[in-house]
Symmetry: C2
Subunit: 160 residues, 2 copies
């Protein structure tokens, strides 16, 4: 354990600290966001993200495969989310006229309303948990580092 080369099988102390903090964030942050959104709006953090992404798209419409990609979702997961959303009248699905293999999803008015009414508390929570504890410089550094990691992880999931 102490006799390994620089590509050791273990993490050194600084790396351990970073890794532990990152584990806490990836485990506990979604849990905290889910609890708040579930309580206030009856949806999960992931579902909120799907609504938000759709709302930003042109005509509030996207192909499911593209929506899955930007939400870091598998296709079955998104498919089931859309089942729930469609049942509540929040989105509509229809075949893509230009290629029948694709399916277009459009955010309905009820869906946009749900998003708008749950946004304030959710955004406040995000600010409280993520932005408020940091200085402006720390935010910049964090953004830069996370962007690099996010790109690496995305490649990993798409390639594997």
């Amino acid at each position: 354990m102490g006799l390994m080369n620089t590509q050791s099988a273990w993490l050194d102390d600084d790396q351990q600290d970073l890794w532990q903090a990152l584990l806490t964030v990836v485990i506990a942050l979604p849990a905290a966001l889910d609890r708040q959104l579930q309580r206030e709006a009856g949806i999960s953090n992931f579902e909120y993200g799907v609504l938000a992404r759709l709302s930003m798209a042109d005509e509030a419409t996207m192909r499911l495969s593209e929506l899955a990609r930007v939400c870091d979702s598998t296709q079955p997961r998104l498919s089931k989310v859309m089942d729930r959303f469609e049942a509540r009248g929040w989105v509509a699905r229809r075949p893509d006229p230009s290629d029948g293999r694709y399916t277009l999803a459009t955010l309905a008015d009820a869906g946009r309303q749900k998003l708008v009414e749950s946004a304030p508390e959710h955004v406040a929570q995000v600010k409280r948990l993520v932005f408020d504890p940091l200085s402006a410089a720390q935010r910049r550094h964090l953004g830069a580092a996370l962007t690099r990691i996010a790109a690496t992880v995305r490649r990993e999931l798409e390639g594997g």
Copy 2:
């Protein structure tokens, strides 16, 4: 939307970018780690963390409530993980002699062996996805920022 004060209900562009990168990391990073560990070792990232934490404790023994806390786990979740681990002979549970309300968990040899044999590939994956993309300075900045966020999120979950 454009006429709100500094405590706006929305995120500005820089915040959006950071937030999106963080979302990708909290969603896709656990997924990537889970896939690799599941394939190579048949355990989840969370289960690996439980084994690792226990192995670091004095006598490889901890109270369940304390273990749950450091693993950012609820008690039912950890309880079920321990059911699975005990069935495989990886841990043993027994009442705390000094207070029968607590339960002590001890990592068994088979559990330590499982940890040791799955560690190298897992650690390599962590390095590849998290550390390799960053410069030394970025790692320090990231560690500092994540530590602050982790502390805030921990307080949130314990207090709520």
